[in-house]
């Protein structure tokens, strides 16, 4: 099963729409609640990152019996130093993002913690792509 969601940069009132939709799908598929939580927390962190940093993005979700693969692609500033961005506490978030309760530099480390496989590719000035795989068993 494949699903696609569009994410609008800067629009915090809609942030979480895709994650919420994916959560409902996984519940319908009777995936274990603990695994659902890991998947949607990672996805939501990724979705919030697009809203917080990028102009726009898309989320592609591919689910089969064994695993869920999520690809989050954005058009935005990119990440100059991925290793640095992976460090807990490192953040480039604006004051507006912090007022929303985010931007503590926990996003990418928390995505890593909640996925089985994570790939990050980024080009400065172009955008960032996250690919995350989580096994459903």
């Amino acid at each position: 099963m494949e699903f696609r969601y569009e994410v609008e940069g800067g629009n915090f009132s809609r942030a979480g729409h895709a994650s919420s939709a994916v959560k409902k799908i996984l519940k319908q598929l009777n995936v274990d609640n603990r695994i659902i939580k890991r998947i949607v927390v990672a996805l939501y962190e990724g979705e919030v990152n697009v809203v917080a940093h990028a102009h726009k993005g898309s989320i592609l979700v591919d689910i089969d019996e064994q695993r869920i693969e999520i690809k989050i692609e954005d058009e935005g500033p990119g990440i100059p130093d991925i290793d640095l961005a992976m460090q807990a506490g490192y953040s480039t978030a604006s004051a507006a993002v912090r007022e929303m309760g985010f931007g503590a530099g926990m996003g990418l480390p928390n995505i890593k913690k909640n996925t089985d496989e994570l790939k990050i590719a980024s080009e400065v000035g172009k955008g960032t792509t996250l690919e995350m795989i989580t096994y459903l068993q």
């Binding site: 915090f12 009132s13 942030a15 979480g16 994650s19 919420s20 959560k23 609640n33 939580k37 949607v40 927390v41 996805l43 939501y44 962190e45 919030v48 929303m100 309760g101 985010f102 931007g103 503590a104 530099g105 926990m106 996003g107 928390n110 913690k113």
Partner: protein, 114 residues
């Protein structure tokens, strides 16, 4: 601890959710930073926050948090309430400060996460 006890102890107003629900809460976490809330693994947790925006509800939805206490007399917006109802999240408003709220709930048996 159940919802009716929380409402009574905090002299609070129940905005949405059933006051007589049987769900028992064991843990409390107080934060205005949703990034930190998303790192928690605990179940049966009450989130205590002074942040009032829809991302508090979205964060709770993703983290399987079923009760949110808004402190310092902060008001729940219509959008927050609607989203909380859709996701079966109980919302409570208390006039007390975050520190006072935490002290009362801890004294009544709610445990810290870490």
């Amino acid at each position: 601890m159940n919802i009716s006890t929380v409402v009574e102890l905090l002299e609070a107003r129940l905005i949405c959710g059933d006051v007589n629900q049987e769900r028992e809460f064991m843990y409390g976490f107080a934060s205005d930073l949703m990034s930190d809330v998303l790192t928690l693994d605990s179940d049966n947790l009450i989130l205590i926050t002074g942040l009032t925006n829809t991302q508090v509800i979205r964060t709770s939805e993703m983290a399987d948090i079923h009760c949110v206490v808004l402190v310092r007399g902060k008001k729940v917006s219509d959008e927050m309430k609607q989203l909380a109802e859709e996701n079966h999240i109980t919302l409570i408003e208390t006039p007390f400060s975050m520190f006072r709220t935490v002290s009362i709930l801890h004294e009544a048996g709610l445990k810290p996460v870490y």
